[in-house]
C-alpha cells in the first residue's frame, strides 16, 4: 500500500488540473482548438490515471459503472435534441442559428455548438470510461506466455 505513495500523491496532485484542463478544452472549443471529443478523452484520462494508481475497485466506487450509460445517453440526447430543437424553432435539423435569431453576435451558433460539444464531451467521457472498465474490469487470467 505504502509502496505507491509517491505515485499516488502525484496522481492526486494531477487529478484536479487534468479535469480543469478538460473543462478548458471543452468550453474553449467553441471558438478555439478543442471540443467535446478531446475534452471527453482528457476527462476520462484523469479517471484512468486514478485507476492506475488506486486500483479499479477504488475508481468504480467513485464513478460507478452503472451511471455511465446514463451519461452516455444524456450526452447523445443533448446533441440530438439540440438539433431537434432547431427543427421546432423553424430551422433545419442542427440549425443553431434559430436558437437566437435576432442576436448580432451569432449567439445562436454559440449556444448550439456549446450544447452539442458538451453533449459530445459527456458521451465520449462515459464511452471511454465504459471501454476502460470493460477491459480493465475483466479477470486478469491471461498469462504472459499467451501473449
Amino acid at each position: 500500500m505504502m509502496g505507491h505513495l509517491i505515485l499516488r500523491v502525484v496522481i492526486k496532485l494531477l487529478f484536479a488540473p487534468i479535469l480543469l484542463f478538460g473543462l478548458y478544452v471543452q468550453f474553449h472549443g467553441d471558438y478555439g482548438p478543442g471540443g467535446g471529443f478531446q475534452a471527453g478523452v482528457i476527462f476520462a484520462s484523469a479517471f484512468i490515471l486514478f485507476a492506475l494508481g488506486f486500483g479499479i475497485k477504488e475508481t468504480q466506487k467513485r464513478l460507478p459503472p452503472t451511471v455511465l450509460p446514463f451519461f452516455m445517453v444524456f450526452g447523445l440526447l443533448l446533441y440530438a435534441l439540440t438539433g431537434v430543437l432547431g427543427l421546432f424553432m423553424g430551422g433545419n435539423f442542427l440549425d443553431y442559428y434559430v436558437l437566437a435569431p435576432d442576436s448580432h453576435h451569432n449567439a445562436g451558433q454559440h449556444i448550439g455548438i456549446l450544447l452539442v460539444e458538451f453533449g459530445v464531451g459527456v458521451a465520449v467521457f462515459s464511452a471511454m470510461m465504459t471501454i476502460f472498465y470493460f477491459f480493465a474490469g475483466r479477470e486478469p487470467e491471461i498469462h504472459d506466455a499467451d501473449w
Partner: protein
C-alpha cells in the same frame, strides 16, 4: 528526379505506412496484431489527409485579436460589415474572433433557409475553389495532365457576381491561394481576387491558413477509428474468453474440432 521524389516525401511516408499496415493485417494470425495493423493502415490515411491540407508556413485558421484590431485600423466600419452580413448572402456578423471556416461555411446561410438553394450553392461554391489548390501537386505527380491544366478545367468562380461578399469568408481560401506555388494557382482565382470589392483589409492576405476541412474530416475519421478499435478489441477479449486463444490458426482448429472432431479438415463453410 530526386527533387520530384523528395518533394513528395509525405506521400511516400503515407504509402509505406499504408502498405506496412495492410501487410500486418494480412499476414498476422494474432487478432490483436491484426488490429494494430488495421490502426496503422487507418493512421496512414489520416496522415494523408492532413498532409494534403497543409500549406507551407500556414497556421491554424483561427482569427486572433491582432487580426481583428488590424482590420479595424484598416478603417472598415463596423456597420458596413454588419450590413454586409445581414443583407447579403453571407449571414454572419463582422465581429471577429471565430474560426474562419465557420464564417466561410456560413455564407449562403440565408439563402439556404429560403428557396434558392442552387444559387447559394453556386455562389459559395466558388469560395471552395481555394481548397482544391494545394491538391494539384499530386495530380501532376500522377502524371498525364499537368496541374495547371487541371486547375484551368475547374469551373470559373463567380466571386465577382457577389459585390457584398464577406471579406472574411474569402480570406481563408485566398490565403491558401497565395501560399500555393504559382504553377498550381488557378488563373481564375486571380481574376476573382482582383475584381473583389475593396473591402479586404490588406493584412488578410498576409495570413496563410492551412485548409481546416481535412482536419475536421479526419477528426471524424479518428473517432470512427477509435470506435472500430474498441469494438475490435472487445471482440478479441470475448474470443479469448470463448476459445482461450487469439491466434487465428488455433481458432480455426478449435472450430474444426468442434464440428468434425479433427483439426485438419477445413470446414466447408469457412472456405467462404
Amino acid at each position: 528526379m530526386w527533387d520530384f521524389i523528395l518533394e513528395r516525401y509525405n506521400y511516400w511516408v503515407v504509402i509505406m505506412l499504408m502498405m506496412i499496415g495492410l501487410y500486418i493485417v494480412i499476414s498476422r494470425g494474432n487478432l490483436v496484431k491484426t488490429l494494430v495493423g488495421l490502426n496503422l493502415f487507418q493512421t496512414s490515411v489520416f496522415v494523408f489527409y492532413i498532409s494534403m491540407a497543409r500549406i507551407a508556413g500556414g497556421t491554424a485558421p483561427i482569427y486572433t485579436k491582432a487580426d481583428y484590431k488590424a482590420r479595424l485600423k484598416e478603417g472598415l466600419p463596423q456597420e458596413q460589415i454588419t450590413h454586409i452580413s445581414y443583407t447579403g448572402n453571407a449571414g454572419h456578423h463582422g465581429e471577429a474572433g471565430y474560426g474562419a471556416y465557420e464564417e466561410e461555411a456560413k455564407s449562403g446561410y440565408d439563402a439556404a433557409n429560403g428557396a434558392g438553394h442552387e444559387e447559394a450553392g453556386g455562389e459559395s461554391g466558388s469560395l471552395h475553389d481555394g481548397d482544391a489548390v494545394p491538391s494539384n501537386d499530386l495530380s501532376s505527380m500522377m502524371g498525364e495532365q499537368g496541374s495547371t491544366e487541371v486547375a484551368a478545367q475547374q469551373p470559373m468562380p463567380e466571386l465577382h457576381d457577389m459585390p457584398n461578399m464577406d471579406p472574411e469568408a474569402i480570406s481563408a481560401p485566398m490565403g491558401m491561394d497565395m501560399a500555393a506555388s504559382a504553377s498550381s494557382l488557378p488563373v481564375s482565382d486571380n481574376i476573382a481576387y482582383e475584381t473583389l470589392p475593396n473591402v479586404i483589409p490588406s493584412n488578410v492576405g498576409d495570413v496563410i491558413y492551412s485548409n481546416p476541412l481535412p482536419h475536421v474530416l479526419i477528426l471524424t475519421a479518428i473517432v470512427v477509428g477509435v470506435a472500430t478499435t474498441a469494438v475490435g478489441l472487445a471482440l478479441a477479449v470475448r474470443i479469448r474468453e470463448a476459445y482461450g486463444t487469439i491466434e487465428e490458426d488455433e481458432l480455426e482448429a478449435a472450430d474444426n474440432i468442434a464440428e468434425f472432431g479433427r483439426p485438419q479438415t477445413k470446414a466447408a463453410g469457412s472456405v467462404g
